[in-house]
Symmetry: C2
Subunit: 252 residues, 2 copies
Amino acid sequence: MLSKARIKLINQLRQKKYREINKMFFAEGSINVIDFIKSKISVIELFATEDWINNNESIIADCLTTTVSFKDLKRISALSNPSDVLAIFELPNMTTQARINNSEFVIALDDISDPGNLGTIIRTADWFGIKHIFCSKNTVDAFNPKVVQATMGSLSRVKINYSDLDILFQKIPDEFPIFGAVLNGLPLNKIEPQTNGIILIGSEAHGISAELLKYVSHKITIPSKSYDSTNKAESLNASIANAIICYALCAQ
Amino acid sequence: MLSKARIKLINQLRQKKYREINKMFFAEGSINVIDFIKSKISVIELFATEDWINNNESIIADCLTTTVSFKDLKRISALSNPSDVLAIFELPNMTTQARINNSEFVIALDDISDPGNLGTIIRTADWFGIKHIFCSKNTVDAFNPKVVQATMGSLSRVKINYSDLDILFQKIPDEFPIFGAVLNGLPLNKIEPQTNGIILIGSEAHGISAELLKYVSHKITIPSKSYDSTNKAESLNASIANAIICYALCAQ
């Protein structure tokens, strides 16, 4: 049975303000919910249909679980097609002082604003074994329900940190490469394979800001083909650019 | 001045049924609208703020143009943040009998359902010089406003065709390669550079259908890295997989 208080809470958790006040977020769908349960993030309460609960008994054994109807799930879901499970989790701390491990690849995001893009970037990072994403303070919140949904469980494995990237980048040793896509850089397919570095992705509207561009040691361009230089695609979507750069640098 | 009839028409054009009845679609935002005007697609009517019209006089010289307020644009826009221009265009015919040109790369889509994914795939195709996309009949409509928006003008350059892909693929010569991503295929980075072929992308929920998988001559896998084989990303977003395959095959 779903209480009015729970409906109110879950609807409030769509907003960043209430996620921060309550230190909670919610996730929907089997993949997302199960992957968060497997992670170190604590489950607060799980709401699911009887069928879903019966099929996942062993996984949810330690969770506070409430059986609800599909009709009730529609009342709390942020999706146009609700799933048969939704769970509230404890919000991880994303603002502790971050340090970049110089032996691996990480992604840095300069004001990504579209939740679908951030979710897809997190999912792609997970695929390529990238464990940390550093977001500028104006990047959309990673626990926004649309971001959570687009990560397809990957948000349970990839660590997200929000900080002032300008300050973060100042502390990076000169020899640690920072890759950033620009209009007239070195073609990505001419870059030697790398073992570590920061992949910096600019915002959808403005690309990499001048403030951060000065730290980019490897200015790269994803090669394009066009038949008419006056009428062609001006750019790639930010999550697409990120994926191609991750593939080119980390998967060889 | 925006008439009630125009408001009604534009709102109806959000639905495929009315786009087909009226043989019209609409596009919003400077990039989309200007790129369609430059293409061979006929403009029916353009609605824009006085400022936008003054800044784009030469481009829209031949268009039937109506000056509207930003408040009026909000009444017809499908966007949460309306732009200062919206235009109605003639809907291209997307169901004429298609043939694949064997000397180039094309993309084929097997039931892509998410408008954002289709739009991003069209934008990516344009970037890599791919001029034709062949969609299964159940793929989301390319002139859905959310698709148009995500293409960022590329829909004016990439030709879209809807047909029964099973029938289309039957006519393809044996030596013409068809690339499809599967779970245990040849790593994409081990594939020799190619000069032509079909990049077949499966649906978000089910991947490539069994019906079409039998035509795939090159079963490929985008290499992943994971630290825990029992808890890792299961797949990539369809538009991300498409972009990485396009880069690996067409941009080298």
